[in-house]
């Protein structure tokens, strides 16, 4: 953490504060964070706004395929269920699955990446080769295989997503740790008797935090997309629970006459994953100290005297 010495004009600023300020001043980042905030809010409030049993699952064939109206903001689906309510609950399910997967994958990757980076040598090679095998299978197919093999309970979906996310997260953690291990403060810590765990936890990880965070946000976006993908294929979250991908696939038959059924879930998927990716990008920009100055000036000529 860098701290500036207090002067007349400036206060004590840490690196985290600088990153926050950079994010705050970045319009795109702010929009992304707002969108993510809205999604989280939706997930939390879904219960409050709509009762699951009566409005999300219960079928009402009489009312089926209604276009969006004041009563049903997003219309109703082929079984008469209120689409808006279903979308809200689907948001919650997707976010929960994604969050769990990213959390577990990050924790695991820190352990595995840590082992790999710290011990190096043959341990590192073996771990990397195993990950290579997982990476060799195209990601969507890997998830499909795991879910087909184990079943599409939520646990297994999360497991599949964790396996999907692990290789790139481990790579990130490992390379960050390796870069930071080269730094002299590690030698300094070792020379005063710090053991490997202490070095890892107190010195190396906090410095790698930024890069890991960026990877996490991007992984979140990947989870959202992947959950929708397997949902679309019918092997994702089980009916009758609403899920964006499956809702989209069910809507395909009605595409011609009721386009809203297919447009809305796709839109949500796109917005959600875009928001997370944009946030990840903005975080990456915010962490790069060189970029902070460039934003102010828009002139494109080499520095000359102002005419």
């Amino acid at each position: 953490m860098q701290t500036k010495a207090k002067t007349k004009k400036q206060k004590n600023h840490g690196a985290a504060y600088d990153i926050w300020r950079s994010l705050r001043s970045n319009k795109v980042a702010v929009v992304s964070m707002v969108i993510i905030g809205i999604f989280v809010l939706i997930s939390i409030l879904a219960d409050v706004l709509f009762d699951y049993e009566t409005q999300v699952i219960a079928q009402d064939i009489m009312n089926d395929l209604q276009s969006p109206s004041k009563e049903h903001w997003f219309g109703t689906d082929s079984l008469g269920r209120d689409y808006f309510a279903r979308m809200l609950y689907a948001t919650r399910i997707t976010l929960i699955i994604s969050f769990s997967s990213v959390f577990i994958a990050t924790a695991l990757s820190i352990v595995i990446g840590g082992i790999s980076a710290y011990f190096g040598g043959i341990v590192d090679t073996i771990i990397m080769r195993i990950l290579d095998v997982f990476l060799a299978v195209p990601s969507t197919l890997l998830i499909i295989c795991i879910v087909v093999a184990l079943g599409n309970e939520t646990v297994y979906i999360i497991l599949a997503l964790v396996v999907y996310l692990l290789p790139s997260l481990v790579r990130t953690v490992r390379s960050e740790l390796m870069i930071n291990m080269e730094n002299e403060y590690v030698e300094a810590a070792r020379s005063v008797g710090a053991g490997p765990f202490r070095i890892m936890l107190i010195h190396l990880l906090p410095n790698s935090f930024g890069a890991i965070m960026v990877r996490c946000t991007m992984s979140f976006a990947l989870c959202i997309l992947s959950t929708a993908c397997i949902g679309y294929l019918g092997i994702g979250v089980r009916a009758p629970a609403p899920e964006w991908g499956r809702m989209l696939s069910e809507a395909q038959e009605y595409m011609r006459l009721h386009p809203y059924l297919i447009t809305i879930p796709g839109f949500f998927i796109m917005i959600a994953s875009t928001a997370f990716n944009l946030l990840g990008d903005a975080l990456q920009d915010a962490m790069d100290p060189r970029l902070r100055g460039y934003r102010k000036m828009k002139k494109k000529v080499f520095a000359r005297r102002k005419k």
Binding site: V133, V137, V148, L225, C229, G234, L248, M270, S273, T274
Partner: protein, 325 residues
Amino acid sequence: MWRYILKRLLWLIPIILGVTLLVFALMSLKPGDPGRVYLGLNATQEAVDAYNESLGLNDPFFVRYFNYVKGLIKLDFGKSWVGGESVNDRIMSALPQTLKVCVYALVVAFITGLPIGILSAVKQYSLADRVLTIIAMILACIPVFWLCNMAAMLFTLKLHWLPATGLDTWKAYIMPVIGTAANTIGLTVRMSRSSMLDEMRKDYIRTARAKGAKEGSVIFKHALRNSLISVTTTLGVNFSILMGGTVFVENVYAIQGLGTCIVRSISNNDVPMLSGCVIILATFSVIVNLLVDLLYAYLDPRLRAKYVGKKKVAKARKEALNDAN
């Protein structure tokens, strides 16, 4: 250089073997009953059991795996659990469609993504850059099945410009190829933009400018050549993503490729078919990655020199010593 190629070729084998083991192990977790599927609901339990026995389903895991790999070496992927047809035949007929779409998509992604990324990097913070970055991001995040459906709605249902099924005419290729490529276009734009930005901040660019080089030369001759190296490495990953996407694209556009096979075998619970398709696609992915690695080694003189033969290294070292004296 040859040692590098050889080393990479040798690694192919354990990785492909690893993939087969992974897929096979996963699939064996799934309780399957091909006998019942093949013989129907009316068959007796004994007949079903006998059939299953004949397929070797009751053998221990490694025996089954060993037999499977033996078959693979002979390029025999086994028999489908649905209808007993040879998995090979189905793969052979389906593979060309899938490969065509994927390769075209990769080319399209690269040809459009790279120039746009460069433009975006060169005109950083301009309106064009901001707009293009956001579009690229959206493209990278758009769910492929949704994009394909939307495109079909617009271009087939509303405008009647393009056919929505099969690959019969050249027009039929447009939507599948662009649909498959869409995510990759977005990724390529972002990758090439960030790589160009990184290179343009490096010291040797300042040296080039100090020599009096024109801005165009600085960008295309100096920065781009270096940035291509990192962009190339993503080609391999992108091909992998493309292949994953075919599952959805072929589904929407009713293309008889491996993707459709996979979808069908999921719903039919047809393990050999699913395994075969996945392994084939994974193998292609690995091969493309290898080719990309070789291309990368060719482009980067630092890597080229690393794998140069021992004799040359000794010679260069001698020269360096002489120079230093």
